[in-house]
Amino acid sequence: MHYPVWDLPFAHGLLIAVIAVIHVFIAHIAVGGGLYLIVTETLARQRQDPVLLAIVQSHSRAFLLLSLVFGAMTGVGIWFTIGLINPTGTSALIHTFVWAWTIEWCFFFMEIVAALVYVYGWDRLSARQHQTVGWIYFIAAWFSLVVINGIISFQLTPGPWLSTRNVFDGFFNPTYWSSMFIRSFWAIGLAGLFGLWTATGREAGSRRIWLQRYSAVWSLVGIAAASLAVLWWWRKIPETARELTRGDMPIATVVTQWTPIAVAVLAVIVILGPLLFPRRSGRPVTLLVLGLGLFCFGLGEWVREGVRKPWIVQDYLYVNGLRADEIDRFREGGILANARWTRSVAATDSLALGRELFRVACQNCHARSGYNGLASRVSGWEPQYTTALIKRIEYLRRPMPPWVGTADEARALALYLHQLPGVPSEVALPADGRAAYERRCSPCHSLGGFRDLGEYIEGMESEEIYEFMEYMESDYMPPFTGSDRERQLLADWLGQNVARTKEVGR
């Protein structure tokens, strides 16, 4: 609302997802891998095992490329990307935590130099010096995680910061510690997975089997401990966030259900592969577990991001760059009068108004079509129905920020959405009552689950439901805007299937 919105042909979230997941995956390997390297080096030196030491040395080179080239550069990438996608959010995080970022930068500086000296110093430093540099690398990298974790967890649970504006309240927020344990243990788990990569690059026999089992143990310990920390985190996040995964946000619901299953599958493959049958677990299995690791990580990060919606910073800043304390001002004058980066458009040109509104109010998250696209959402509705939904959107769709535009603006936005390519201009009669339910009710209700429709119409006959649709409009409920025939179809189907089923069920 304050900054220009980048007009992309796809949803902004996709860009963030790609860059963020890759970066966060590598960044965690960079932390856990630091511990893996120094512990394994120490082990090799204690055992006076030159073969293992040589393996650690070759591992460290690949590690340097991964950590410095891909980790550090995609880290810059994620910063650039969030600045483009959500400047207001990025600005809020920077202005609250500039000093935390500078502290993180100090650790990053030490981490970068330590990584270089560690990798280039194998033949130049004494064993003791080399190990000290290894520890410096790991400690600096881990503290870098410790700092960034404070900022990321702040977004979901800013806690007392909301009233005190005290940086420590925001940093050591309610999910700080649980998040830190999740990330630290995941880092160890991922380091083990990456260790498998080095191990399986060798001939069987030359410490490969030992190294595979060793790395598998790292992975399993990390995964198990991180999973426990996730349970702790789950108890600490706001109830509203948990509700999103119980139907309020269908995709978050599905992803949350699948994440533990994916993690369990990963653990089972590591046990049955490199741990118990290392000889049969070569590079393909390693690639599989690395891929699964990335997948699980992506799911986990997706849930964390997803359950924060509609906020960038819970109770302070919405995903569309609107601050909570600005709602009244926007509602008073409308979006176009208050948002900065809008073009002058004639008040009579509804379509042009709608285009401006879509960009400033929706495009932070939504595309016109495709993933998170709005064309498919409004297909099958009338513009009046879409207008009604827009005005009530914060009640109807919990991950959505409130609509702060005027009634005219809601209408203009709806008109624009309805002329998007792929949206039929005429609304055809649904094939049957079930199809009418899918079109009119299912966007916000379910049958037997979240916002169970049966509860609302329990015991009602079709005729009563038909009548009810006449006066059901409220602050939370849109009016029925379809044809009389569709209304009849829907009422009949609900009366015969939904209302009755509920009664019988009791």
Partner: protein, 371 residues
Amino acid sequence: MNGLVPGPDPLGIPGPAWLFESLLHLTFSLHLVLMNFLVGGAVISMIERARAWRSGDEAETAESRRLARWFEKRLPTAFALTVTFGVAPLLFLQTLYGPFFYSSSVVMAWPWLWIIPLLLVTYSLTYVLSWKGQDFGGWQMIQSVKVVGGLLLIAFVISNNMGVGLRPEAWAAKYFANASGLHLNLDDPSFWPRLLHFMVAALGVTGMILAMVGSRRLDREQPDGARWLQLGALWYLLPTAFQIVTGLWWLISLPREVMMPLLGGDRPATIVFMVAMTLPLLSMVTMVFALRARRSFPLVHLSSWLLGLTLVGMVLTRDAVRRNTLAAHFRLQDLEVMPQWSMALAFGGLFVVALGVVGWMTRIYLNGQRD
């Protein structure tokens, strides 16, 4: 249409503006030195590689190879440190000038985002060249050219964004013509001289570093000392002399209300600017004397200090240009200050620790070197 420049972040800044400005200038100066070595080193090593590739003279070829390899082995580290010291000023820039930086970034979002793959590829290539550049064939030559090309493209994009950020009056025409983030700053008369000024400086500063290494080698009677000193001095003197042209071009390309404060309108800015224009002349004269001196190192050293001060002076001048350009929209004093002194102190303490730790690691690494 409303005024496009977003208001300052209501969360304020967690320390006085002068503190963030000082940190911005300090880290940006360090970034420039590193960036100059990276870009200059990449260009000089590419030229030396080309000479070694083409030359029939065996002795000359060996000399060029040694010099090219000297730079190439250091490019990955220079790259990592350039980026590290690039993110710090970018952080302080966002703290102080966020509304300008974010807006311009979105206006040219695609080129701006393209920096990331460019960084990834170019950084990887510096490792390729460092680890696999012992041979002097066509393949290695191509990698060397790619590194230079990648670095110049990155500089091109960054210079565009910094330029668009200083032109709020140009935002509306660009953004409302096309909001898909495909704009550049090529319509700005100061774009090319500005970019050229930065890139030519990279050659000069790298020349100075090479001259210093050469004179030190000469002092220690190590091989290549005299050649590196002469070559370094040449790489320093010629580009730096040329900088008078690029600098003047940049100056006259600025809007009058931005240029005039540097020429008397704003006394402190004028003094800094004049000093920053005089110092390189002194530095160049000192370098010429160094080449004739029996022992060159002290004079090269002095010349490098004068150049270092020039760089700081130019960073301050650039800041004055920014402040004067944005004066109509924004003043730093308007930012609300909500200090977090304990955090600032923690940073200060940790920064000292980091310098100590990095210093120690560098020392043990260099001491372990058997040259």
